[in-house]
């Protein structure tokens, strides 16, 4: 029972990441009708916002100690982080909380990147075929990841989480199961809550603002929105920026879980498309539900008990689900008629 609960929690934090990525992808697809293979790259860029932020605030001055020698006999280098020398204790706090703080950097950076992408490239592809959209965004994804590789190198760069969130929370205690029965890492719980908050925020934005009203209407019926005098194309840019921000924030908060490298986007790309398709192309609730569903399925498929019955299932569960859903329910779980069909 506890094992199942633990895997469920694990599925929720995995699912949170999947849902966030799929949410952005669906926003773009639903409003713009663009199949964006560069969306994974946006997630990766978000993660590297965290890396860049930390590198900025941990810039060091290096001085050579004239007397002491390093263990291999060279003069000893003394490194002082600039942030600490400038801001004192506050610099220390900055470094400690660099990951959550880099959200502040990621929001404008990702919005600019998203808007630039839409204005520069995507805009020209609204009327071209989905195949061409896939191709140009796939090319773009390669360019973005190679740029990151050129700047940050090929190796993953680990991002420490704030020390208060290290270690595990005693979830079992909260559920009245006694101490140390069910523990789960704080940061993973945080990620789940963060994902839920962002998802809630996006839904609230769409639900309670005029802009959101237009976007919801545009996702459902772009033609009619145009008939009511609304220039939906102008809002596409903003939507693309928003999707980029959502993907980027998902990336920022993911960095303490798995050190990001330039390839992170491609690793998530296939998965995020699978999530979107399972949820139903163009359905926001579908993307979120499918994200959590696949996260949980994947987590459960990794249990030894299940693997002993179905060897290898943990490796293919996501794709298998996609195939079954596509063959049995072509529109996905929440898909609407007429999306990507003609």
């Amino acid at each position: 029972m506890n094992a199942i609960l633990a895997q469920l929690l694990n599925g929720l934090d995995k699912g949170g990441a999947y849902a966030l990525i799929a949410l952005g992808l669906t926003l773009v697809f639903g409003t713009l009708g663009v199949v964006n293979f560069a969306h994974g790259a946006l997630f990766m860029l978000g993660a590297f916002c965290a890396v860049a932020f930390r590198q900025l605030i941990t810039l060091e001055t290096v001085t050579l100690d004239p007397e002491k020698l390093s263990p291999w006999g060279a003069p000893l280098e003394i490194r002082t982080p600039l942030a600490q020398s400038w801001f004192g204790d506050f610099g220390g706090v900055l470094i400690e909380y660099s990951v959550p703080l880099s959200i502040l950097l990621a929001i404008p950076v990702m919005a600019i990147i998203g808007i630039a992408m839409e204005r520069g490239i995507i805009k020209h592809f609204y009327k071209r075929s989905h195949a061409e959209q896939i191709l140009v965004t796939f090319g773009l994804a390669i360019v973005l990841q190679e740029l990151v590789k050129a700047i940050f190198g090929a190796n993953p760069i680990s991002q420490p989480m704030p020390s208060v969130l290290r270690g595990a929370a005693d979830v079992g205690m909260w559920l009245g199961m006694g101490p140390n029965v069910l523990t789960y890492p704080w940061w993973r719980l945080t990620y789940f809550l963060f994902a839920t908050a962002i998802i809630g925020g996006v839904f609230a934005f769409l639900r309670f603002t005029t802009f959101g009203l237009v976007v919801r209407a545009g996702m459902a019926d772009r033609e009619t929105v145009g008939l009511l005098g609304i220039n939906i194309a102008r809002r596409f840019t903003i939507m693309f920026g928003l999707a980029a921000v959502v993907a980027g924030l998902a990336g920022v908060m993911y960095t303490p879980l798995v050190p990001p490298n330039y390839h992170l986007g491609m690793d998530f790309l296939v998965l995020s498309f699978v999530v979107v398709v399972v949820g139903g192309m163009g359905s926001l609730p579908g993307a979120v539900a499918a994200g959590f569903l696949l996260g949980i399925l994947q987590s459960f498929a990794s249990m030894t008990e299940i693997k002993s019955i179905l060897p290898g299932i943990d490796q293919i569960i996501v794709y298998l689900t996609a195939v079954i859903v596509l063959l049995v329910r072509p529109r996905g779980l929440f898909g609407r008629r007429g999306v990507m069909e003609s």
Partner: protein, 386 residues
């Protein structure tokens, strides 16, 4: 465009000329690739093999518009089958090729049967999902068949029943052979080259046949074809299987030139690579995908090996202070950064030259006013079947 060809080997004059020129270019590779630093067997074999892969992929994508993102799975199946044929039966390449083509064909039937139930991006995702499943399984539970991460290789104790029925076990690992003649590196290239020419010839026949016409019709308007009473799915299915078999053939040749089969060959990025090749060269044209394949393989193998020293040498004419800057900037685009160049090139091609390099060639030709009609089967831009 000789749709009324009566016999298998009759072909239009134009196709014949193309074939002859193509044959000359391929067979003379060791000469013209030499100044480009690419005239070594390992790379030339790849040129021939990936050209076959791209040719086959183009029969599906170029003609029908179905964008498969999982074609590398068939390549992988072909490789594994060929290596198993070496291990169990014989080092002769003929059974290896036959088994590889048949088995990848069967795989294509199974995957195609399910995937072709959907069109457009759904088709792409289905093929992608199948290929990823194959890859992940090959990596994990299918290890007894695939040898997992280590890759399937020959071993000294392989049964090789046919070979050993005719002769004693030689010391050391055997190499692939054709009717008892063991291939050397360059011979293996010529073998691949001949297979490429054959594959090219078959592709030409398919392009100019009524079947090829029908496939193009599917691309331009599938719904109308369905209304007109054509069973478009069975045509698309045939194209899918043919292209799967081409991929299997390419996989077998990879195993012949280097008897090792690894799961990475099936990964989706490998499938993406053949898409890049086809688009870069020119989708729907005969030659385009081949050129795309050569370009990408050249980039991957030669361009990627450029380093700062080579660049400094290359920019020797630039004044000293400036040279470091030029080298520093250009070094981001070669060597380890070769994929950046590839990605940029690809984006530019899709944006401004949707017909790939072949369209560029046509435009340049048009500029000089030779006014020739576009090449056989030239289709200006990719269009998903939706």
């Amino acid at each position: 465009m000789n749709a009324t060809a009566k016999t298998l080997f009759s072909m239009s004059r134009r196709d014949l000329i193309t074939l002859v020129i193509f044959a000359l270019v391929v067979l003379a590779m060791p000469i013209w690739l030499s100044p480009l630093g690419a005239a070594y067997p390992g790379l030339m074999q790849k040129f021939a093999i990936y050209a076959i892969f791209a040719l086959g992929f183009n029969i599906l994508f170029g003609l029908t518009g179905y964008l498969s993102f999982g074609h590398a799975a068939f390549l992988g199946v072909g490789s594994y089958t060929a290596v198993w044929s070496f291990k169990l039966l014989s080092m002769d390449v003929i059974p290896a090729i036959i088994f590889a083509v048949i088995l990848s064909g069967i795989f294509a039937v199974a995957i195609g049967y399910l995937s072709l139930r959907r069109t457009g991006i759904y088709f792409s995702i289905l093929t992608l999902a199948f290929a990823q499943m194959s890859y992940n399984l090959a990596y994990s539970v299918l290890t007894p068949i695939t040898n997992g991460e280590t890759s399937l290789q020959l071993s000294l104790r392989d049964p090789r029943v046919l070979d050993l029925a005719f002769g004693p076990r030689e010391p050391g690992l055997p190499s692939a052979s054709l009717f008892g003649h063991t291939f050397s590196g360059l011979e293996a290239f010529y073998f691949c080259a001949v297979v490429l020419l054959l594959a090219f010839f078959i592709a030409q026949k398919i392009f100019s046949s009524p079947f090829g016409m029908m496939l193009r019709a599917i691309k331009s308007n599938q719904t109308r074809m369905n209304y007109a009473g054509f069973n478009t799915r069975s045509y698309a299915m045939t194209a899918f299987v043919i292209s799967g078999m081409y991929a299997g053939l390419a996989g077998a040749l990879l195993a012949i030139t280097d008897p090792l089969a690894g799961a990475e060959r099936m990964q989706w990025t490998a499938s993406g690579e053949v898409v890049l090749m086809t688009i870069l060269g020119g989708v729907g044209t005969l030659i385009g995908p081949v050129i795309g394949a050569w370009l990408i393989k050249y980039f991957e193998n030669i361009f990627s090996a450029f380093n700062d020293t080579a660049l400094t040498h290359f920019f020797g004419f630039v004044p000293d202070g400036l040279r470091e800057v030029v080298v520093a900037i250009s070094s981001k685009f070669v060597g380890e950064g070769w994929q950046l160049t590839l990605g940029l090139l690809f984006v530019l091609v899709v944006m401004f030259l949707p017909g790939g390099i072949m369209e560029g060639v046509r435009r340049i030709r048009g500029l000089f006013g030779s006014g020739r009609t576009p090449q056989t089967g030239a289709v200006s831009r990719p269009q998903a079947a939706e």
